[in-house]
């Protein structure tokens, strides 16, 4: 409890990696309009404009799940659910579970949570520097298609030291902890002055690109074919970036979607951890329903969570972190099991809700990949191998237990490459990946 420090910075991390996009804006006016159609971009450079919108929610619970109750037995389609997976069986065909996976060379126990979506090696060693996270990699490529290139959310995050989103330069994007603030940004937006400031910033960027792109003709004339090809790549990039900035700018004046639910009330205490998790799932769902962003991350900083209220009836005797070092104490394990079960129940609800939401006649779940996992395989021993990993929805052939070597783990970044490709992003490598995840197929 003593170590808990609520997030005070009113910083919202719905930003792209471009600095001029650092400030948010909106009209501050609520207008009625059909939600998703209004968000369809006027034109798109990539992926193909006709492509189905695909989305990602990446969740890390930095204390993981008790492995004995999580990992199922048997493999493939006929696996036998574990106690935890029992709670997800209503959605059996909409998720996959993985065992024997981890991030190569990502060691160091707790500090590895910041690498959950980056897979940068050695988070505890000297000379460490984080690398770009999966959501930011996506945002760089498809961020211009939505109002917010990405959203970085958190629950109980130790201020300024925990986040799943990192820029290419290894700079942390702070989490937004308040559901009400997420709601406000999505449905209300900033002041007119903020809108103007943001527009001016993008305008400046455009004028720079316009100027550097304006000399294509003169330069090309003086070059041989082979050299010209190289320079043409530059000018093509200038045009593509200009288009993206134009689209980003247009978002500033586009009316916001209408809220159909009242703004949420933020739980006041870190003890209300589970309520916060549920609310953030709701915010992520709203974000996808309104197509406000397609890349959302959520860090559940369980390490920084005190004794918590599990279900409005039961409260744990010890802090979450303390429980995780259960030392096989039946009392502690039982409470951990209750917490973990509530995590599963909330995930099941999220899947139910996303299934109920439709887009072009397809369920939103089928277009939303949800990655749930942890940097710790066994929090009690701080091991960073055999990570509990679930992938839900998003257009994959699910219903399987993918079994890999528990002694010599399979690289989890391969799953990220699969997710990128499912997003329609041309990528064959992410961090220490060696390919796409073996045996995971696309559907739909």
């Amino acid at each position: 409890m003593a170590s808990y420090r609520p997030a005070q910075a009113p910083f919202v991390a719905f930003k792209r990696a471009v600095s001029r996009r650092r400030f948010l804006a909106g009209t501050g006016v609520l207008l009625a309009l059909p939600m998703l159609d209004a968000m369809t971009p006027a034109f798109a450079a990539s992926p193909a404009p006709a492509a189905k919108p695909r989305r990602m929610l990446g969740i890390c619970n930095n204390l993981g799940l008790v492995p004995d109750y999580f990992f199922p037995t048997g493999k493939g389609k006929d696996y036998k659910p574990s106690p935890y997976l029992e709670l997800l069986q209503a959605h059996r065909d909409d998720f996959s579970v993985f065992s024997g996976v981890s991030h190569p060379d990502v060691d160091g126990g707790h500090p590895a949570d910041n690498c959950f979506l980056t897979a940068a090696p050695h988070p505890s060693s000297g000379g460490f520097r984080n690398t770009i996270s999966l959501d930011q990699f996506m945002a760089e490529r498809i961020g211009h298609l939505t109002r917010f290139p990405s959203m970085t959310l958190g629950v109980n995050c130790a201020r300024g030291s925990r986040s799943l989103s990192w820029t290419a330069g290894g700079v942390m994007i702070p989490t937004e902890e308040r559901a009400s603030e997420v709601f406000r940004k999505m449905f209300m937006g900033g002041s007119e002055a903020e809108v103007r400031a943001q527009e001016r910033r993008l305008q400046l960027g455009q004028s720079i690109l316009d100027a550097v792109g304006g000399q294509a003709g003169e330069l090309r004339r003086t070059m041989g074919a082979r050299d010209r090809d190289r320079l043409d790549q530059y000018f093509t990039s200038v045009r593509e970036l200009e288009q993206r900035m134009q689209m980003s700018k247009e978002w500033e004046r586009k009316p916001r979607p209408v809220a159909t639910t009242p703004a949420p009330r933020d739980p006041g205490s870190p003890k209300e951890y589970m309520d916060k998790v549920r609310l953030m799932y709701d915010m992520a769902r709203l974000c996808f329903e309104t197509d406000s962003s397609r890349a959302v991350t959520l860090m559940l900083d369980s390490v920084n969570t005190p004794a918590l209220d599990i279900d409005h009836v039961h409260t744990t005797t010890d802090g979450y972190h303390s429980l995780s070092h259960h030392g096989r104490s039946p009392k502690k394990l039982e409470q951990l099991k209750q917490i973990d079960s509530m995590h599963m129940t909330l995930l099941a609800k999220l899947m139910t809700d996303l299934k109920a939401a439709k887009e072009d006649g397809q369920s939103l779940l089928d277009r939303t990949m949800i990655l749930y996992g942890s940097n710790l395989g066994n929090a009690s021993a701080h091991t960073t191998t055999n990570l509990p990993t679930l992938l839900m929805g998003g257009g994959f052939k699910h219903g399987q237990h993918h079994v890999f070597d528990t002694e010599n783990n399979y690289p989890l970044p391969n799953l990220y490459v699969s997710m990128l490709q499912r997003m329609g992003i041309e990528a064959d490598k992410f961090a220490s990946s060696t390919g796409t995840l073996r045996g995971l197929d696309f559907v739909g």
Binding site: R20, D107, G109, S125, G126, R141, R200, A211, V212
Partner: protein, 855 residues
Amino acid sequence: MTFRAAILGLLLLPLGAAGALPLFLEKHCVECHDAETKKGGLDMTALKSDLQDPKSFAAWVKIHDRTVQGEMPPKKKARPAAAEQAAYLGELSARLLREDAARIAAQGRSVERRMNRFEYENAVRDLLQAPWLDIKESLPEDTEAHRYNKSGEALDVSHVQLQRTLTAAEEALRSAFVSSVAPADTATRRHYARQQGSYVGKMKFSEFNMSPERATFPTLGFKGQPEVRAGNAPATVGKADPILRDEEGVGVVHGSYEPVEPWFGTFRAPQAGRYLIKLCGHSVWVGPGKTKSKGQVRWQIPDLDDISKGRRAEPVTVYALTPPRVLRRIGTIDLGADVTVAELDVVLKAGESIQIDVTRFFRSRPGPSRAQNPLATPEGQPGLVMRWIDVKGPLAPQWPAAPYAVLFDDLPVKAAPKGAALPYAVTPRDPAADAERLLRRFVRAAYRRPVSASEEIRFLPVIQGALKSGSSFAEAMLSGYAAVLCSPQFLYLREAPGPLDDHALAARLSFFLWNSPPDAELRAMADAKKLRDPAVLRAQTDRLLADARSRRFVEAFTDYWLELRKAGANDPDSVLYPDYYLDDHLLDSARDESHETFAELLRGNLPARAVVDADFVFVNERLASLYQLPPVEGVKLRKVSLPAGSVRGGFMTQAAVLKVTANGTTTSPVIRGAWVMERILGRKPPPPPPSVPAVEPDTRGAVTIRQQLEKHRTLESCASCHTKIDPPGFALESFDVMGGFRERYRALDGKTPEVGIGKNGQAFAFHNALPIETYGELDGKAFKDIRDFKRLVAADERQLARNLVGQLAVYATGAPVGFADRAKVEVVLDGAQAGRYGVRDLVRGLVTSELFLNK
């Protein structure tokens, strides 16, 4: 047969209708290399004779080379008559030469390229005179071609690349501006260890950490302070007693690693710039534990109240820390048994703090057993105490500092009103005139060649537009400058086919030897058109090499040539190599050693044979112990002469190289062999066949990789390549994954594990298994071990030099040594022969060669 001949004749027609070619091929090659047999994947009947096609050109070069080397036709086939073969080779090489020369004349050897991210960072740092700028990590990693990041065909640009470049440029300009107006602090500030929550907080045990070896402890002078540690006395005497306060310290017996990572959080660099940092500390001796458990005294557990004077100096790595956990190594120091004050003169980024790591100390990681300190003895264990750090800075000869003058000349500057986009406001005397004047100045400094008066103000509309839409003068100027830093004239190295003009030559020279654009003197030489004078060029080469910036060349070149940049990948396995696992200092030292060695080859103009065989190494205490050399003390690398018969000396037996060529768990003669062939001996190894799985070492210990390979080589199709590739790797089997000398393999299985405790505090669990065998045969000459092998390869000094020139040529020009370039390389070699191919002579020879002087 006739049919085939007809086809072949036709195909070869453009190569020259008459002559020795088709006949020779028909007689000696096509039997195996036709559409049906396609031996070695080569079908000559399908091979295009169009030499303008790069693929068929390369195929013909290969045919030429393998015939010259006598590999083809194969030994068991009838030999062509010498005269017949000479005529064939003569004609083929003449055609290849003609074609290659024509291509070079028309297009140049290299293709237009942009700066890579290292060059870009250096270019912006040099231009803005802001060495703290941190740019390269924000840009996408550059892809490589011909093993280097210097070739246009690999240096792509995408909208992501451009977006990141633009962002990086804007942030760099902003940082240069805000850090150079005025110093935030001018006084020297002392930060006591006792003021730091992260030092003092760890004195107390918590639910999550009850281990004394992972706690900190208070000291006064060289004594412990039980009352302070117990919380019965104040944590510090504070300001009341400055003399006593200076004697207070906080100690550790554990390396800096989660959860014990104390840092000087009361200091955060208020702005980017140069800082002087003094670190005060000393080693101590911490008494053994006295408690008993199961009848045994637990001496391993330190008694944190039983402190006495240290018994030796402790090596310490100093990091600049950006919380939560970005660590940048800024120095290494030794803190002695007496109170030591070490000084560092460093460049810090805004917001950075200071953290230290005592490099010998263990880093407790969980494992099967309770972590134990490997340095603990029944008499106690070493500890290190920090007392305080003094920080002075940011420092500059005058304020506003140099970057300000680059951006705004001598225009007055003052604090901006609250809420402005930039913290300072620049006041122009005449906004329109100043904007134009400053932009012209900036463009002239940024672009590497003179540009027209209209080109200088190409980006004036950006500035004018920004001013019109309400930006401040400074903001508007920075936007214009950002455009300059993203423009093709800045990003791309312009070279036209044929002889390089003076400015292109100046750029090529400085990007070669400094990894950054030309400085004023080099620019002046180019302006005066003096640079193509060989004497001037040589003098400039020497000047650039003598400058501190040549360190960038040393590091950038060796990081690619020897792949040192990958030395951190693939951790030493925590079970098989717990003595290397988590040892950052060892890895840092190893990389430093390889860099320093290449610097020495250049400095001393040492013969190229020193690449494989030298009588010296650069070591510090940690490396000397890894290499089993007579002990030296401290963190600093120093040149030491090797004892007679040492296996060390030369790059092949350096820790960084041996680590790069292993995977942290096992070594493979195939991988090391191929690596040595290509990078050191300059012979391109044949690519691995696509369908055959690699032969992987087995860590269980019952069979060696050599035994597995011998089985593999009984297949004729495998043997032909492996007899070429494996031998260097066999010689290097004496070295483990970190470059330690070994006589046996380590394995997971066995009866009794070796005795010891790893750096992670875990008892050894590996076993010594089968003995190493290192004998082999290279080009028909037998060797029995690495010493023999080195002698064999060092004998062909010219080949070692030829390889080095080839590697340098790709790095310097972006293009590999092509068919028509071979003779030019020989000219360089001839020039350096008298000095036994001194490495500096080779660099000077390359710079004045046709390869370098032409695109």
